[in-house]
Symmetry: C2
């Protein structure tokens, strides 16, 4: 089975040819960043991914995480890999220097995350959650809590979790019942059962730092009565050493379709005296505080969709270039050919490749915007970039993960019968990918966030600003004297018309008839994702064309980029009109049928 290889060429194209790295030059925290440093980091990540994480992906799937007497036992080889991961400094890339972090841009850590996800999704979930938990503690925790937990978490010595879900409270966090009782020493004692806790327990690190949503006694009902707590597996002494066991344990593990090596725990808090917890931020502001982590995690899960897509593509491509089956359809020759010669195999591969490149470029634009929103000296630039990030985040989560499922499924299809056999490895990508469009907010939840908070609330201001920018790219493409580019520009233009009509429908409908708007929410998210992908590949085609005119170095890469962009236009942008019809005309049919008659 081929090991995962980091797509460094495409990443370098984005950093340099699309000039995403240049956009960060001059931002105060990144003064010292050089392309040499960034390249060295990406190469080292690629090498660790191929050499250490990728080979553990299938063995971890087969062996799985297991619950033993003393807690969760990880598969063979994972402990050593995690130690190497820590020692490589991979847990602290984008963490603040204040706690030992490396203060690197989100742009760099986004590429690195994609690489980890491609190599081994089940492994990557733990550092991803640790990083999200760090962000909440760093931005909302008290000095004491930050001192107690952050240095060890930044080092990766302790891992983090996100403890939200209860059996009756999945998407609906307002329904949480876990109780928190104030203790005389200023801490709290938590009691309750939580489910679906990723890496809720494991034996790769001595401590697990849980970020737990719970209700302080006497708090208001609903979402305004929820608070956020840090609850460590092992209590931390004043001197920072580990002390007694806290009243927290993993009581069972779920049997899942995929990500078998990632322990999904049922966690009991406070079965005995109560689990000691430290309040993060103010009481009853827990959901707001947790959203820091949830937003980070949503972007990270989008990158899971991207990473697993890239891996599924590499795996299928290797097979398509090696497997000999059938003859050329022209009948000119009776020699058996490699299956990549069959047009439908090429179509499937390009359907994977073009979406992957579109997603990667889009993720890059979001990462840079996150950096600019955090660090640009101009307030207006910060807020413009934050508006873009807020708008696009549900798309990166929803569209990337839905693509990931489809792309992993295409990877199986390219393999034919052998794809269904577990040893091949292609099936695991679909089984693993299938959770990504569910956890951290299903695609439906992302789509509601998109149409409600991100489009209707500001009456389309942010999305219209983006549409204007995309129209400009379409116009630039149409002006080029190149048949492919003008064609891509026309297709982008047509898709933008469909998007604009759909935005208008959402803005007009949402305030007065939210059911009708919501009926088209997921198709709207899909349409928006497809158009954004077309915009990014359109930009890429423009740059590639310029590079081809300037010089002939690396010309095959640029020709390839234009052809990939053209494929995307002809195979994805073309669906925009139909999606707009679904959104605008399709709501009545969604709502008409009586509940009895389903």
């Amino acid at each position: 089975m081929p090991e995962y290889v980091a797509p460094l060429n495409d990443m370098r194209f984005l950093l340099h040819d699309l000039e995403y790295l240049d956009k960060l030059v001059g931002l105060p925290p990144y003064r010292d960043i050089s392309s040499d440093v960034v390249h060295a980091i990406l190469e080292a990540a690629g090498s660790f991914a191929s050499g250490v994480l990728s080979p553990l992906n299938q063995s971890g799937d087969i062996e799985g995480a297991k619950l033993g007497k003393d807690g969760v036992v990880m598969p063979r080889g994972w402990h050593k890999a995690y130690q190497d991961f820590i020692e490589g400094g991979w847990t602290s890339l984008s963490s603040s220097e204040d706690y030992g972090g490396q203060n690197l841009p989100q742009l760099v850590s986004t590429f690195v995350e994609e690489i980890w996800n491609g190599a081994n999704l089940a492994f990557t979930l733990s550092p991803m959650l640790t990083r999200g938990a760090q962000q909440v503690i760093a931005s909302r925790g008290s000095d004491a809590v930050r001192r107690m937990f952050l240095p060890a978490m930044v080092r990766g010595a302790w891992t983090g979790t996100m403890v939200l879900t209860e059996p009756h409270a999945g998407s609906d966090l307002a329904a949480i019942r876990t109780r928190a009782v104030r203790h005389t020493d200023g801490t709290y004692r938590l009691h309750g059962q939580k489910i679906f806790i990723t890496y809720g327990d494991h034996d790769m690190a001595p401590n697990v730092v849980h970020l737990v949503l719970a209700r302080v006694e006497g708090a208001p009902h609903g979402s305004k009565g929820i608070s956020l707590f840090v609850v460590p597996k092992i209590l931390v002494n004043q001197d920072g050493t580990l002390g007694e066991r806290n009243d927290v344990r993993c009581v069972s593990l779920e049997h899942k379709m995929g990500i078998h090596a990632s322990p999904t725990c049922v966690m009991a808090f406070g079965d005995n005296a109560g689990a000691t917890g430290y309040l993060v931020g103010e009481e009853n502001r827990g959901l707001d505080n947790m959203f820091v982590m949830m937003n980070a995690a949503r972007f990270a899960v989008g990158l899971e969709g991207l990473g697993i897509s890239e891996r599924a593509y590499q795996h299928a491509l290797a097979y398509a270039k090696e497997r000999v089956q059938g003859t050329d359809i022209s009948g000119d020759n009776s020699d058996r050919v490699k299956i990549i010669r069959h047009p439908d195999i090429r179509r499937m591969l390009l359907s994977m490749k073009s979406r992957i490149e579109a997603m990667r470029a889009l993720s890059c634009s979001v990462a840079v915007a996150m950096d600019l929103a955090a660090h640009h000296p101009e307030g207006s630039t910060r807020s413009q970039n934050q508006a873009y990030v807020d708008l696009i985040l549900p798309v990166t989560k929803g569209w990337f993960t839905e693509n990931g499922v489809e792309i992993a499924s295409l990877g199986i299809q390219i393999h034919g019968g052998i794809g269904f056999i577990e040893e091949t490895g292609a099936a695991q990508y679909l089984r693993d990918a299938r959770i990504t469009s569910i956890y951290e907010g299903t695609t439906g939840i992302q789509a509601l966030d998109l149409i409600g908070r991100k489009v209707a609330r500001d009456k389309g201001q942010a999305i219209h600003a983006l549409i204007d920018e995309m129209c400009q790219v379409g116009a630039n493409l149409e002006r080029e004297e190149d048949a492919d580019l003008t064609h891509i520009g026309k297709a982008l233009h047509a898709s933008l018309v469909a998007l604009g009509d759909s935005v208008q429908f959402i803005i007009d409908t949402y305030p007065t008839d939210p059911h009708r708007a919501a009926a088209g929410a997921v198709p709207f998210l899909e349409l928006f994702g497809i158009v954004c992908g077309g915009w990014q590949l359109g930009l890429a085609a423009l740059v590639a064309k310029r590079k081809l005119t300037e010089s002939s170095n690396n010309s095959s890469f640029y020709v390839n980029k234009i052809q990939t962009s053209r494929f995307y236009a002809d195979h994805f942008l073309c669906s925009a009109g139909g999606l707009a019809q679904k959104i605008i005309q399709g709501a009545n049919a969604v709502l008409a049928l009586d509940e009895m008659h389903f």
Copy 2:
């Protein structure tokens, strides 16, 4: 977990309101068929499905088929279920009376097959293959072979298999290498290894009758040198009793993503003296002869896509009506609601339901055409119906199974996080469904058959005849004084224009540039499937409207049918234009990229 319930109401609607049963009245073999008999059969099948097969679906998945010392051991409960299945007469529904069969129409056995597939796909594969093997032996076998094997197979006492694939010969059967040596007694001795043999061995019946493709020594190269043999697991004595073990054995089982209870065997033929085989039909005509079974199996696999879709829908629907989560999006009320109240859940359910009803109606039209093609007294009616069957068969295989994968995936999505947990059962449907678009010819293979043999070869004659018929339905819908029906008619009309343009492109392009035509083959199959589904639901809406005008009995069913048809028009027919663009404009981009640069 809810057990599967046969969708008898929709089946009765097709039989009576759409008058599919009436079309068979007067055909010589079915003179005695009455709706009472058909209803009794469907009800008995539904009851067996819910009571016996459905409860074994998950336990079979967990336990799986295992290879023991004496061959394959089936999961607990399966042996008894198979005995009950035989005793219920379920193996012989559509088999000829000459060998103890019940001579029932394909229409009836199609519904019954859908029911078995919905209840337990892994179980159903064995009787499905047995039936296909019977058909080949009945139509192509010698008298002696028929007498030796058919009665026991019709009774279900012995099961059948389809033995085609070798490691280097999957889709490309011409590459088969298994050898057959003529023996002095007129039989043959076979030597070779075969893979992916479904139910190649098991312990539910004492004998397994393999239909094996092999090459007689000295035969021509390629597909014209392949012959078909019956090779039983246990040799049959002159008196019909079982004799010695033949030189055939299962040497290993595949570890698969799904259908765990269906043993997928690596079979060794002739490791010792050679496996005794009986020629079926003439030497070197094996592929032609096997196509009898392959066509039957392709339709049957289409019904697997349909059956598993129905089950995934029922499972998700039950959850959506029971699970309370979140509040109504209007914000009018803070009460928690069942998730079926959320528009996006309704959209997903309708996306499942509308395609299921479209597929069922289409399968019914194919089944009736098969009956008419076989038994109508008029030669022209027979050949018209056969042309329809030939044209539509790749669509029922390809489109139904691709839908099945998507619908099973939507079923998981509706469950949210719990859908990813294996105990829930929803994940199994996706794991099981995933093979259906691969085995018996991948979707790509079906699509090539469609554009080449079924559309280009007769220059569109058969498909244009069908398009004319569908246009008539569109015109009838547009003439109705009902906003929903005229809307459906317009949508059908627009989709037919897109289909017509695509047909023209295929006819124009295939003879001179088959690569370009083939680049759009799968999108063409999808487009054709979607339009055929719209045609069938349009017909259903017309009938439902008439029934509503005639009387108010069962009116909610008819209202529901019109609304479902309307949903389909707004959510599936709307994609026809984009698909036509993919087919017509998208080929260049599929073919342009150099193989090196993927």
